[in-house]
């Protein structure tokens, strides 16, 4: 019978039964076999800093939306640890392909939050430079960015470049055909691509139990012949440690993998959503008790890494971020409407001249009318 040889221990294909947790719910550290922490004090502080900044920026964004300054906004509240921990494992040259909820990852990667928020304000479709920041455009059509990530990683692999790609998407996204095709392509080409799923339990109103019958999302990796890892996504150290391992493997040429960070979306799906229609206050309270920042604070304080000076420093920085965002976004004017014709083609069709002229006339007429 001609078949492929199976690995010696088939059960090794499966994700471990329990998610990796480094900080337990009470904030005590337990290193986990196979997922060593290589973090210095500096790094612990940085992780904390990014999480706090992310939360502050998030809050500012929600406020701006309430004030009518953003059209809509998708909050990351509760997911700071997963996003920050994951992205912190990347190097300068690496790339991130995000969904629309990755403000935390954006901060870690040095993307200006205002640029991201211009998308939600609708000043332009997107306003950061993916090429300079190695942070792809926020992708709204679910799971589509996973294929761009796989392709980018295939490119890096073909080119022999030392580079890892991380693609973020949600639990709901795993149901789309594109997520499947992306994981399969990455696996077949051994591409250095880490698929980082933030399982925040919901796709808008649809709970995970209606999304899949898989025991866990990490189990989906088995079908692509790649490792599936799980971590406590409200534990920044676990999220980091698992991402660290995944990124190192990929960088070493061992191919892609899937990470499921188990977390919870504390806010509405977006500012347009009403979650009271589909989830209970009790559920919310249970997860609130597992707040990722509070847990990390307990640990840092116990370790003597978090004193009032540092807190004040971060607080200042957070305020400055928020102020810059307000200054940049509040009543921000839209660009020149004629720019609409600028970026569709390098080499626009002749008809663009006519259409541009029509818009110019309309603008002039409005001006005259006003």
């Amino acid at each position: 019978m001609v078949t492929a040889p199976l690995p010696p221990d088939p059960a090794a294909l499966l994700p471990p039964p329990e998610p990796v947790q480094v900080l337990d719910d009470s904030g005590t550290l337990h290193e986990v076999d196979g997922f060593p922490l290589d973090l210095k004090d500096e790094d612990f502080r940085n992780l904390y800093r990014y999480m706090v900044l992310a939360r502050r920026v998030d809050k500012q964004a929600i406020n701006l939306q309430r004030q009518g300054q953003l059209g809509v906004y998708a909050s990351l509240l509760g997911q700071e640890a997963a996003q920050v921990g994951g992205a912190y494992a990347l190097d300068e040259q690496d790339w991130v392909f995000p969904s629309y909820r990755e403000m935390g990852a954006a901060l870690v990667r040095g993307v200006d939050p205002s640029a991201i928020l211009h998308l939600f304000r609708g000043t332009w479709l997107s306003d950061h430079d993916p090429m300079a920041t190695h942070f792809g455009l926020l992708s709204i059509p679910i799971a589509t960015q996973a294929l761009h990530a796989a392709g980018y990683a295939m490119g890096a692999k073909l080119d022999g470049k030392d580079l890892v790609v991380m693609s973020y998407f949600g639990d709901g996204a795993t149901s789309e055909g594109d997520a499947h095709e992306a994981m399969n392509f990455a696996a077949v080409y051994d591409a250095p691509c880490v698929f980082f799923v933030q399982n925040n339990q919901y796709a808008i109103s649809v709970p995970l139990s209606k999304q899949t019958k898989a025991p866990t999302i990490a189990h989906k990796a088995v079908g692509y012949g790649m490792p599936g890892y799980r971590c406590d996504g409200n534990d920044v150290l676990a999220s980091y440690a698992v991402a660290r391992k995944a990124v190192d493997r990929a960088r070493a040429g061992e191919g892609p993998c899937l990470i499921e960070a188990v977390t919870y979306r504390m806010e509405a799906h977006t500012t347009a959503d009403d979650p009271t229609r589909y989830r209970t206050p009790e559920e919310l309270a249970r997860w609130k008790a597992r707040d990722p920042i509070a847990r990390f604070e307990t640990f840092l304080t116990a370790e003597g890494l978090l004193d009032d000076v540092f807190r004040a420093e971060i607080d200042e920085e957070a305020k400055a971020y928020a102020a810059r965002i307000r200054a940049e976004l509040y009543d921000a004017p839209h660009g020149d409407p004629l720019e609409l014709f600028e970026h569709v083609y390098v080499d626009p069709p002749a008809s663009y001249a006519e259409q541009r002229e029509q818009l110019r006339r309309e603008l002039a007429a409005n001006e005259a009318g006003a």
Binding site: P141, S205, V206, Q211, P337, L340, E362
Partner: protein, 319 residues
């Protein structure tokens, strides 16, 4: 409009227990626009249920359910998320009756909230109707007023052939004095919403209202603009369209979608072929520019409005 559509779904499910509603967030949440509100509460999880997040899956499984004998009414959450289902729509939903030599029928309705004007983020304001009007085997309809919303949706659900039902999302909040249930003109019929003699404005979905406003505004120029609500893009009511052009001699077709290769081209081509000698000017097309749908703050510059429509009438009359 939103309420008329919701009532249509309630009534259709009440009248025929083979009607089932499914899609993303249509159950407990009642849909992001609440068009499926209280259906699950009233008819249970077997008749109205949430699906995994997969549009091809939704349409493909609707085909299977229709083969089984159900009448699925599925939702694509937004216009821009219809594309993953393109293959199932074009290669299967549209063709299966024909491929089977008439032995199979697929009474499936795909509801698609579409169009811009509500300040949404990207991919939430698309006007993809022309991709589907080109597909033989589909019916494509779009109501412009609430009573039509109700009646066309009921008729679509009753149709033995698949219907793509484009809901003008910026008109969800449009009000009309109408007693439901109501039966308006059947699919395949265009309706003159306003009589006029100077020129005809052709529109469907969200632009019907805009054209009526343009016609009103045109009065100050001394123009009597006729407004024809196409309602049914496929089948297309060439007769009503041509009759109007015979009368006015001038035609402007309006939609939100980019003009190039859009549905307006079909209207223009049909009118030219069928009313060549009545035309005093070519059919002019007013729509979005030939660019991707822009960001929210810029959509007002992209979308056709009263001024752009009247400008086209002006050009037509001056031709």
């Amino acid at each position: 409009m939103a309420q008329a559509l919701n009532t249509a779904l309630h009534d259709a499910m009440g009248a025929d227990d083979r009607v089932v509603v499914f899609g993303e967030d249509v159950g407990k949440l009642g849909g992001v626009f609440r068009i499926t509100d209280k259906l699950q509460q009233r008819f249970g999880e077997k008749r109205c249920f949430d699906t995994p997040l997969a549009e091809s899956g939704i349409v493909g499984s609707a085909i299977g359910m229709a083969l089984y004998g159900f009448k699925p009414v599925v939702e694509m959450q937004f216009d821009g998320f219809t594309y993953p289902a393109f293959e199932q729509i074009v290669s299967h939903l549209a063709k299966m009756r024909n491929r089977s030599r008439g032995r199979v029928q697929l009474p499936v309705v795909i509801r698609i909230p579409f169009g811009g004007g509500i300040g949404a983020v990207e991919h939430h304001s698309e006007s993809p109707e022309a991709y589907f009007t080109h597909v033989a085997g589909l019916k494509v309809v779009s109501p412009g007023i609430p009573s039509d919303g109700y009646s066309l949706l009921r008729e679509s659900i009753a149709s033995p052939d698949p219907v793509l039902f484009f809901e003008p999302k910026r008109r969800y909040w449009l009000k009309e004095d109408a007693d439901l249930p109501v039966t308006t003109e059947p699919i395949g019929t265009a309706v003159v919403r306003r009589q006029g003699t100077t020129a005809t404005l052709f529109a469907y979905g969200p632009m019907v209202r805009t054209c009526l406003e343009a016609a009103q505004a045109g009065e100050s120029e001394g123009w009597e603009l006729e407004v024809v609500d196409l309602r049914s893009l496929n089948p297309f009511d060439a007769e009503t369209v041509v009759a109007s052009v015979r009368k006015t001699g001038h035609a402007v077709v309006v939609h939100e979608a980019q003009v190039f290769s859009g549905f307006g081209a079909e209207v223009a081509a049909q009118v030219a072929e069928r009313a060549f000698y009545s035309l005093e000017a070519p059919v002019l097309r007013v729509g979005g520019f030939d660019i991707p749908y822009p960001a929210a703050k810029l959509e007002e510059f992209h979308l056709p409005d009263v001024d752009r429509i009247l400008d086209a009438v002006d050009r037509s009359l001056a031709f």
